[in-house]
């Protein structure tokens, strides 16, 4: 059953007729006296808007000119200076440079950005919540407290140690578990120490040379173009 749109109440034809009649001739009847708002009889209403208003409507009146003069110029220069200065301060945090597709050898020698995501400046930690402090892994001779020992270099020594650990565990299956745990912890600590020392030595060796002296090697091959007969290896 399809109801015609204009006809919702078949029992009130009079209303329909007047509404249809109203629509037919002149404006539709509205619920209030339009004269009160100021639309007199016979006035043409503006055409209905069928699209959103233009993005940049033409201005009837030109805007007031900007205040210029000594104060204006000075404040303007200040603002530019401030913007530039803030970019140089340590408070400006730049997102980490995205890694290039292939890991380059020079990456190890170019220290871009602070170590381990720490911040460049020193706030007064007594005034800040404790959870905001980022612990930095310090490469020092003395051993400092490290919360999460990272193990980036799995060398053969480590592997041997883990194999040994597994063997000892197998052998000691029958013993009390607490003893096992203690031993495990001891071994882990030893591993930490050894590995840490190993790490430190490695790192220290690597940074014996001054960073700026390191040559990228990217310029190589561009200079010697004298003899094109020989192939460049």
């Amino acid at each position: 059953m399809v109801f015609p749109i204009g006809c919702l109440n078949p029992q009130a034809p009079s209303i329909m007729a007047s509404r249809g009649g109203g629509r037919g001739c002149g404006r539709g009847q509205l619920t209030f006296n339009v004269e009160a708002v100021g639309i007199g009889k016979g006035d043409a209403l503006p055409p209905p808007t069928l699209q959103p208003s233009p993005l940049f409507p033409p201005l009837e009146f030109r805007p007031v000119p900007l205040p210029s003069g000594e104060e204006g110029e000075y404040v303007l220069a200040l603002k530019q200076e401030l913007r530039g200065a803030m970019r140089q301060l340590p408070y400006f945090i730049r997102p980490a440079v995205p890694k290039r597709d292939v890991e380059r050898y020079s990456d190890k020698y170019q220290m871009s950005g602070p170590i381990d995501n720490a911040i460049d400046w020193n706030p007064d930690w007594r005034r800040l919540p404790r959870e905001l402090k980022i612990r930095v892994r310090k490469l020092q001779k003395e051993r400092t407290t490290i919360i999460l020992p990272k193990r980036p270099l799995k060398t053969t020594e480590d592997k041997e140690e883990t194999i040994q650990k597994l063997e000892t565990l197998e052998k000691k299956e029958e013993e009390v578990t607490s003893e096992e745990d203690e031993e495990k912890e001891e071994e882990e600590e030893k591993e930490e120490e050894e590995e840490e020392e190993y790490d430190e030595e490695e790192h220290e060796e690597e940074t014996d040379y001054i960073m700026s002296y390191f040559d990228n090697g990217e310029d190589f091959g561009g200079d010697s173009d004298d003899n094109m007969d020989e192939a460049i290896y």
Partner: protein, 524 residues
């Protein structure tokens, strides 16, 4: 916070602190108070980045933290404080006018770094001033300290809340975050420091640096070796006081425009006397007697007591009601009605905006409706003496932009439209808020436009920079005039464009002040 304000905050944070801080900051503004892990999870940034960003934001007083039960620390951003960053140049310029270059640099350092200790500020400012001085001269620390103390005395710089000194810290575990307290009395108390020294120039061949070989210069500066005498006492710029100053300036200039120079000087004296005694949100200043005002007038003004009394009576009788008389003791007690003054200033701003946007006839209608409070359509046409059609058109234009609103007064309880009065009225508070919102939106648009222009012309700007360098080097070696001119001409057009957008940016901010102060005053 409206969408426009959030957008503006995001643009400001991005410009000044980078994208990571912007992401965290906007997230906090949108969602309110949140703990650390939730922030990291919702913004999908690593915990370390979030920590860094929060440190920066807290340092600059843009985010505060609170310890809740079970030791959870929640962070909350202050949107209005972020919006104040727009006005940093204004604050610095004000400090320059009041306390010359030293004051300017002190305020600049404090604004750029959020909070600093007095010794750190003094040292940095002395160094900077020494750089600009001629060779051989250095800036003494004492002079800088003096200016600093003066800034504190006039409340332009205040102390940050302190960490409470805990004597029995080993009884229980330390709290996850300190609760900072500040005593009203201590806020402007300068510690007794004897800062002796001179500013240093930053030069590679400095006499001071010969002692330490450069290769083994320790990463820490020399400060850390000596104990800092005012450790833990941090200072920040007191933005409310600057706002108070702007408000005073606006009132004085309004009085000067309306009456004459002498009356504006009297009003300025009254305001200066009540600078530090009146709290920032007060509706009127403390009553001042005519004798006191006479004694405090600036030295150059030698008007007699009688003339002063006449001026005061004139000011008190003025329909704008900037000055009111509150009593008769001491030759007459006078107050300045701050809230009323702000209201008049806001109304004047609205009127001028209507005039510039819609024309002077619209402005006439607007002023009429303001004066008569509520008017019917017919009455507007009659009083303004503008033909009906035009009046209708203008009223509807202003209505659509929300400068004017309609008030319904029903005659019958069923609110039948044919039997209801519709009156036009101006609600100043809501119109002011709408205008302020529009200002923020246009500033955000301008910043975007400036960024767009910069990107478009980046190539050209870089070229111009290189050209400038070339010119400088050529001038050093002596080159032809014509060549130089030719090179300079290449860079004018985009530069000009940039400058235009920047200017508009800065100057839009000026309108904000009065409106914000007015709105704030009514709310309190």
């Amino acid at each position: 916070m409206t969408q426009a304000e959030i957008k503006l905050c995001s643009l400001l944070l991005q410009e000044h602190f980078g994208e990571i801080v912007e992401k965290i900051g906007v997230h906090l503004i949108r969602t309110g108070s949140q703990p650390l892990r939730v922030i990291a999870h919702d913004t999908e940034t690593s915990l370390d980045q979030v920590k860094k960003a929060l440190c920066v934001l807290i340092q600059h007083n843009l985010v505060i933290y609170q310890v809740h039960k079970r030791g959870v620390v929640e962070y909350e951003a202050q949107c209005s404080r972020v919006l104040r960053m727009l006005r940093y140049p204004r604050y610095i310029y004000t400090a320059k006018t009041l306390y010359s270059d030293t004051g300017e640099l002190i305020v600049e350092e404090l604004l750029l770094n959020g909070k600093m200790t007095m010794s750190a500020v003094v040292k940095k400012v002395a160094d900077r001033l020494t750089e600009t001085m001629e060779d051989g001269k250095t800036m003494d620390y004492a002079e800088v300290s003096n200016t600093f103390v003066r800034l504190v005395d006039t409340h332009f710089v205040q102390r940050c809340p302190l960490v409470p000194a805990t004597e029995n810290s080993d009884t229980g575990p330390p709290p996850p975050a300190p609760t900072l307290v500040i005593n009203e009395k201590d806020m402007y108390l300068v510690p007794k420091l004897s800062l002796i020294g001179k500013g240093k120039r930053r030069r590679s061949s400095d006499e001071d640096a010969t002692g330490e070989p450069k290769a083994k210069r320790p990463k820490q500066t020399t400060d850390n070796k000596e104990p800092i005498p005012d450790d833990g006492i941090y200072w920040q710029a007191n933005l409310d006081r600057f706002h108070q100053h702007f408000r005073d300036q606006a009132i004085v200039s309004a009085v000067a425009n309306r009456m004459d120079q002498t009356s504006s000087e009297i009003v300025r004296t009254m305001l200066r006397m009540s600078e530090v005694t009146t709290p920032s949100g007060a509706p009127f200043t403390q009553p001042l007697s005519s004798n006191e005002i006479f004694r405090s007038l600036p030295v150059g003004y030698n008007i007699s007591k009688q003339v002063l009394d006449q001026y005061l009576t004139l000011l008190a009788d003025d329909p704008l009601e900037f000055v009111g008389k509150s009593g008769d003791s001491g030759g007459g007690m006078y107050v300045i009605n701050l809230h009323k003054a702000l209201g008049s200033l806001a109304t004047a701003t609205l009127e001028s905006v209507v005039q510039e946007r819609f024309g002077s006839r619209c402005a006439r209608i607007f002023r009429l409706v303001l004066q008569k409070k509520h008017l019917e359509q017919k009455q507007v046409e009659d009083f303004a003496m503008i033909p009906a059609k035009e009046a209708k058109d203008m009223l509807y234009k202003m209505l659509s932009e929300n400068f004017i609103s309609l008030q319904e007064i029903p005659k019958t309880p069923d609110h039948a439209p044919s039997r209801t009065f519709y009156l036009y009225t101006v609600n100043i508070l809501s119109a002011a808020r709408m205008l302020l919102h529009r200002c923020y939106k246009s500033v955000a648009n301008l910043i975007e436009r400036r960024q767009f222009e910069t990107k478009e012309n980046k190539r050209l700007l870089e070229k111009s920079q290189r050209v400038e360098a070339i010119i400088a080097s050529m001038q050093a070696t002596g080159a032809e005039e014509a060549q130089l001119q030719e090179i300079e001409e290449m860079i004018t057009a985009p530069e000009r464009q940039q400058l235009e957008t920047l200017k508009r940016n800065v100057n839009n901010v000026f309108l904000n002040f009065i409106l914000e102060l007015f709105i704030a005053s009514v709310w309190k």
